[in-house]
């Protein structure tokens, strides 16, 4: 076998702490290595051309590139060797940047390690086989999970691109967090005026099927051919029949039911339409508060409904959808402020969260847009905003910045002055983070034009004094303690990952970080892709995001789906398991082990044998480890290939212990 080795300088990234020329020189001494050289940037145009030239000139059978991580450039170099006429799997990478040059400064030790890694890659390559991808067809339908603004945008863009879209929303209406906002920064646009028409577009688009009040229960399959089961939760109302007239809401006697949409500011009826612009505009019953469902008495709505849509016996139903790609746009939750006991978390009626305040400001909210204290309905004079509640605080496990709280606090301070010209707003802040377009100007307007008083420092505690509250904190610019008397305190709560995010990630087989936010494939270059082919991310499920970024990501995810579906067939990854029929004894252990039921039992000349279903196998290799005979081998990661690497490491270059 004739192998070529190319050691990349990566500018000074590698060459700075690894003697690349010596690595190439040592590689040349390895058996099977016919050519070795070092190159400035292997991944650049001239770098790749150099590899192609060398393959042709030296008639190479395989190539090793020692450079960065294969998670970055393996596909790049596979295409390169393919352009030179080699099979793309006759290529190996030695990671001498992330795993060597960037983590150690000792040139001698680094060079030794790089030599070892190259030797390992060469050893593995001598066992590599030419593999060819098979083609399979794609189901060109897409599922969008989450009907917030990111999901809505993704669904509309896909649908406008001609795709059939299934939109699954957990709550009874789409709209997400944005539909709860009164105005948006930095334009003071009316939130529901700009979101409402988009929500209507979703309802009216012929290509979109909407499942509201539904959750994804399970995901099977692979890119191009997912099978998703959706649990459609009971609403106790036949939505086909319901016209959204709202008569049931007027007559329902359970008027003290929990108002989820209004964030528990105020109450609602047990049967309700969450808000006037809801899509779908259908009523649903909250079973916890409905007297008919809890006590068996009442049934007023059933009697009054003009279309006879009430179904007290309705149960959850399952729908199965076959799609080729999935966009996850499940958004975020707001931090639970009751964890800050010193702020009266949940105990003081007039200490509320920013989203509750947003509902107070909204004309469609429980107070009709009048700012009234929840305790006594009085208009507040002094409103104190406290920022970073559940952001940038290690002690409660939220060390990250939530990104949008500075901006919405400035917006709320401005709106407060608009609603109550006599009022005075105080904002306790740590830093003002306003990096977006026109954002900094906006926060300055809150201070200069609307007279909000910004105090830099954390609040240590809040305590009641008469019917007011005393907010005690520090002014770190003055170097003094400050106390402000407040009629209303608004906590700028930060963002955290949505409840149940890890469970959904497990169903989708995507990764999430320490805080439950979904991980993108590459933080810079693949921001809406996941490591699972065909699953894309949009919006705040990936990390806190404001509206423009969420909409941008929604469109980006849609673009990725449209690009994926621009082909009629996809190539399957040939790095899957293969059964050596002569060795297989048909014991079926691999069948039991396979997490994807990708192996079945067949008969060959009267003997039971295992058979891999190629399109279903994901290439994990658990079967290979299980097989007592070594009969089923994961291609490109066979026992022989891995043991070849072990051999090189443990035998050939043993250091001299003296």
């Amino acid at each position: 076998m004739k192998i070529g080795v190319f050691v990349c300088h990566c500018g000074s990234n590698i060459a700075g702490t690894v003697d690349v020329a010596r690595v190439a020189e040592e590689a040349r001494k390895l058996p099977d290595v016919a050519f070795a050289s070092d190159t400035m940037y292997a991944c650049s145009e001239p770098g790749q051309e150099g590899i192609i030239e060398a393959i042709r000139e030296h008639n190479l059978d395989g190539v090793v590139v020692a450079s960065c991580t294969p998670r970055m450039h393996e596909p790049t170099f596979r295409r390169t060797v393919e352009r030179a006429g080699l099979n793309r799997y006759m290529f190996e990478m030695a990671n001498i940047r992330e795993h060597v040059s960037w983590i150690g400064k000792d040139i001698e030790a680094n060079t030794g390690k790089a030599i070892d890694l190259v030797a390992m890659a060469v050893a593995k390559l001598t066992h590599d086989k030419r593999l060819t991808a098979k083609k399979f067809s794609i189901n060109k339908r897409v599922m969008v999970i989450g009907g917030g603004v990111a999901g809505i945008q993704a669904a509309l863009d896909c649908a406008d691109g001609g795709l059939e879209v299934v939109l699954v929303e957990k709550t009874p209406s789409i709209g997400g967090k944005m539909s709860k906002l009164d105005k948006t920064f930095p334009t003071i646009d009316c939130s529901s005026c700009i979101l409402g028409p988009k929500m209507v577009d979703v309802a009216q688009h012929p290509n979109i099927t909407l499942y509201a009040n539904a959750e994804v229960a399970g995901v099977q399959g692979y890119v191009g051919n997912f099978e998703v089961s959706v649990n459609r939760k009971a609403t106790y109302v036949d939505w086909e029949a319901c016209t959204g007239c709202g008569q049931c809401m007027e007559k329902c006697p359970s008027k003290k039911s929990r108002d989820v949409f209004n964030e528990d500011i105020g109450t609602t009826t047990a049967i309700n339409i969450p808000f006037p612009q809801a899509i779908p505009k259908k009523a649903s019953i909250n079973p916890e508060f409905c007297m008919k469902l809890t006590k068996g008495k009442c049934g007023v709505c059933e009697k009054i409904c003009p279309t006879k849509a009430i179904r007290f016996d309705q149960t959850d139903a399952e729908a199965v959808e076959n799609v080729g790609a999935i966009v996850v746009a499940t958004g975020f939750d707001l931090f639970d402020h009751t964890r800050y006991g010193e702020y009266g978390g949940g105990r003081y009626t007039d200490v509320i969260t920013s989203i509750q305040y947003e509902r107070l400001l909204s004309a469609s909210g429980p107070t009709g847009g009048h700012i009234k204290r929840p305790s006594d309905g009085k208009e507040p004079e002094n409103v104190v905003f406290i920022q970073c509640v559940g952001s940038r605080d290690k002690s409660i496990g939220r060390p990250y910045c939530s990104g949008f709280c500075c901006m919405y606090t400035a917006k709320q301070a401005i709106l407060t002055k608009d609603h109550l010209p006599e009022s005075q707003s105080y904002v306790f802040y740590m830093d003002i983070r306003a990096p977006g377009k026109l954002y900094d100007e906006f926060t300055r307007r809150a201070m200069e034009e609307y007279g909000a008083r910004y105090i830099r420092g954390r609040v240590s505690m809040i305590y009641p004094k008469g019917d007011r509250y005393v907010v005690r904190g520090a002014d770190t610019l003055m170097g003094a303690a400050v106390e402000v008397e407040a009629d209303l305190v608004v906590l700028a709560v930060g963002a955290e990952s949505a409840k149940g995010a890890p469970q959904l990630a497990e169903k989708l087989r995507i990764s999430y970080d320490t805080y439950g936010f979904y991980m993108e494939s590459h933080p810079k270059l693949r921001p809406v892709e996941t490591n699972t082919a065909g699953v894309y991310l949009a919006g705040a499920c990936q990390g806190p995001k404001d509206i423009p970024s969420s909409v941008g990501q929604g469109s980006a995810a849609a673009a990725k789906v449209l690009a994926l579906f621009s082909k009629d067939q996809l190539e399957s990854d040939p790095q899957i398991s293969e059964v050596d029929i002569k060795r297989c004894v048909g014991c079926g252990k691999c069948i039991e082990t396979c997490p994807f039921t990708a192996i079945e039992l067949t008969e060959f000349r009267g003997q039971p044998k295992a058979k891999v279903i190629e399109t279903v196998c994901q290439g994990c290799g658990n079967c290979t480890t299980t097989c007592p005979q070594g009969a089923i081998q994961l291609q490109h990661f066979t026992d022989n290939q891995i043991l070849a690497e072990v051999n090189v490491l443990c035998q050939q270059t043993l250091p001299n212990y003296g």
Binding site: N95, G104, D106, G112, T593, P595, P655
Partner: protein, 153 residues
């Protein structure tokens, strides 16, 4: 670097999706680590045959570190559960082969945990240096180890 400045031979088997990514993240973050460890990339920790570990240790490795995705966070749904069962059995089985089980460890590191990877590598390397180079196995050593193992049963 190790205290005596002599590298020992440590083999790491890492799953592609979590720990290999975590090691990459540590690299991108420039988290300085000892240089003794060499990483073999596999698709899933469930792909790691316990015999790979045994073979490494018999053939000259001074330590073997296996790392995969956190339980419940496997790219292949449940490969890391298989890995956990196999590796736990392996750990108990190593003394019977005459191998010091302290030379083998398995951990869970996700792709986002660069800092954790640095800690894992540094601690394990330090630990192996405390144990020193592994004794080369001969028939006498094997018999002795087996006798000790049998006493423990």
């Amino acid at each position: 670097m190790s205290a005596d400045a002599t590298e020992l031979r440590i083999v790491g088997f890492l799953c592609n999706w979590c720990s290999y990514g975590g090691a990459d993240t540590a690299g991108v973050g420039r988290f300085q680590q000892p240089t003794d460890l060499r990483i073999i990339r596999v698709p899933c920790s469930g792909r790691i045959d316990p015999l790979f570990v045994v073979k490494s240790l018999i053939e000259g490795a001074d330590g073997v570190l296996v790392s995969g995705c956190h339980p419940r966070d496997c790219h292949y749904s449940e490969g890391n559960y298989y890995a956990r069962r196999r590796l736990e059995v392996l750990k108990r089985f190593l003394p019977i082969l005459g191998i010091d089980p302290r030379r083998f460890e398995y951990t869970w590191v996700s792709a986002s945990e660069g800092q954790k990877w640095k800690t894992v590598v540094s601690k394990f390397t330090e630990h192996i240096h405390e144990l020193g180079p592994a004794p080369r196995l001969d028939s006498e050593a094997c018999a002795q180890a087996a006798a000790i193992a049998l006493q423990g049963l």
